[in-house]
Symmetry: C2
Subunit: 227 residues, 2 copies
DNA sequence: TAACAAACAGTCAACCCTGTCTTTTTCTTG
DNA sequence: CAAGAAAAAGACAGGGTTGACTGTTTGTTA
């Protein structure tokens, strides 16, 4: 917008930092206290921001939370990309599963979980969460396919990848109640075997050529139920 | 204990019914409004019970919720057993997955989800939820093994069953945000194939679970692929 | 530098929720 | 039938949360 002066944005700078602190604090509190326990008062205290300033940036709690959701999706995406980049290329199925398993048991997942559950009974929140969740979902899917080197034009492969993601989501959920890493590891060990076995051993079982959905992209969920 | 009179427990009867209504209302509200939205006031209104009576039966909100958790686990168990009983014996892998998929997308699952998530940041609630959840978990596992006719003494089979349950849990979670039945069905179709393929085609390594995929695997086609 | 707008600070009222307390009803029992 | 206990009813206080509101500082612009 406005740009072109000597002393560049000293205030806008502070504002930005304030916003960031507020969003960070929100996410932290989501993890520590859950959605219901994340009061705006707590957030402002945690962020070291006055209540007035908070209300200036985010007039309503919904505004704050929605912004936090956006912030969180960005963080999630970045984390995943980073982890993927750090992965030895072609490092094997198990390594990919480790990556996914770690992501879905990380604090950001926990925070996201709180938002999902809250959104279920909060239309305004759902409106913000749903599309962003789809976006992350697509991204994770794409990344997984890429890392696994899977060929989705082969019937059944796409579903296998989706199943993998739903599996780690389930593991992530279970993890919030009882943190049993060993169990998780064993399951992922086994699952890696199954994937490897299935991916190159049994591409298309049982004549089911009804439609080979080799569609390049139409992943995850489609919210708009045509009606 | 006390038994042997003419007028059989008329009041105790009413009390019992009241308790039941309160618990039912609680579960309903968990589904409709989420945990945070389930205030004791709402519950008493919904149940048609005066606030005083409610407080008489459940002095604290925690008492109410804990009782609701117990109630819910009982309901879950019963529902599962009933569904299993209604299942054509030896009805095939896919039918079992349908059963599981249905359970993990039902209202009782939704209610349980609310409790899990709330319990994560509420020690008192966690204390009640954790053991009961384990119980249900074990029960579902046992049931699944039984219905699938799986032999858990074979290495890898147990993990596959666990993976199946975590998968449906993940699908259930996804379902609360976006209800996409078709997607679910396709994934479960595929999963059934994988299970069948894996269970009798690749029992696992002889003597070493860490290295399973080297096994030649006898092409036993004994398993019924119903359809 | 003066005037104006945006950012920031902090108080306050309205609201809801929980759990205590007192009162009334209903059942049981001697 | 009377007395006492359990159950049910409803008012109320205390605590916490949200967002509106007023005042203050900081930055921009003429």
């Amino acid at each position: 917008m406005v740009t072109a002066a000597t002393t560049r944005v000293p205030q806008e700078e502070r504002s930005r930092a304030m916003r960031a602190r507020l969003l960070e604090a929100t996410v932290e509190l989501l993890v520590e206290r859950g959605f219901a326990g994340t009061s705006t008062t707590l957030v402002s205290e945690r962020a070291g921001v006055s209540r007035g300033a908070q209300l200036h940036h985010f007039p309503t709690k919904n505004d704050l939370v929605v912004a936090a959701v956006e912030h969180l999706t960005a963080v999630r995406g970045a984390e995943l990309e980073a982890a993927a980049a750090a992965l030895p290329s072609g490092g094997g199925t198990r390594a990919v599963l480790t990556l996914l398993g770690d992501h879905f048991t990380s604090p950001v997942f926990t925070a996201a979980l709180e938002l999902w559950v809250a959104a279920r009974t909060d239309p305004a929140l759902m409106e913000a969460v749903a599309p962003l969740e789809q976006k992350v979902g697509r991204e994770v899917h794409r990344l997984t396919v890429e890392l696994l080197g899977a060929d989705e034009s082969v019937p059944g492969v796409r579903e296998l990848v989706q199943a993998t993601l739903d599996l780690v989501r389930g593991l992530g959920l279970a993890n919030t109640i009882t943190d049993d890493r060993r169990r998780r590891e064993r399951i992922l060990d086994r699952w890696a075997q199954v994937i490897d076995l299935t991916l190159d051993a049994a591409p298309g079982p049982l004549s089911d050529p009804t439609d080979a959905r080799a569609t390049p992209a139409t992943p995850a969920t489609s919210r708009e139920t045509t009606r």
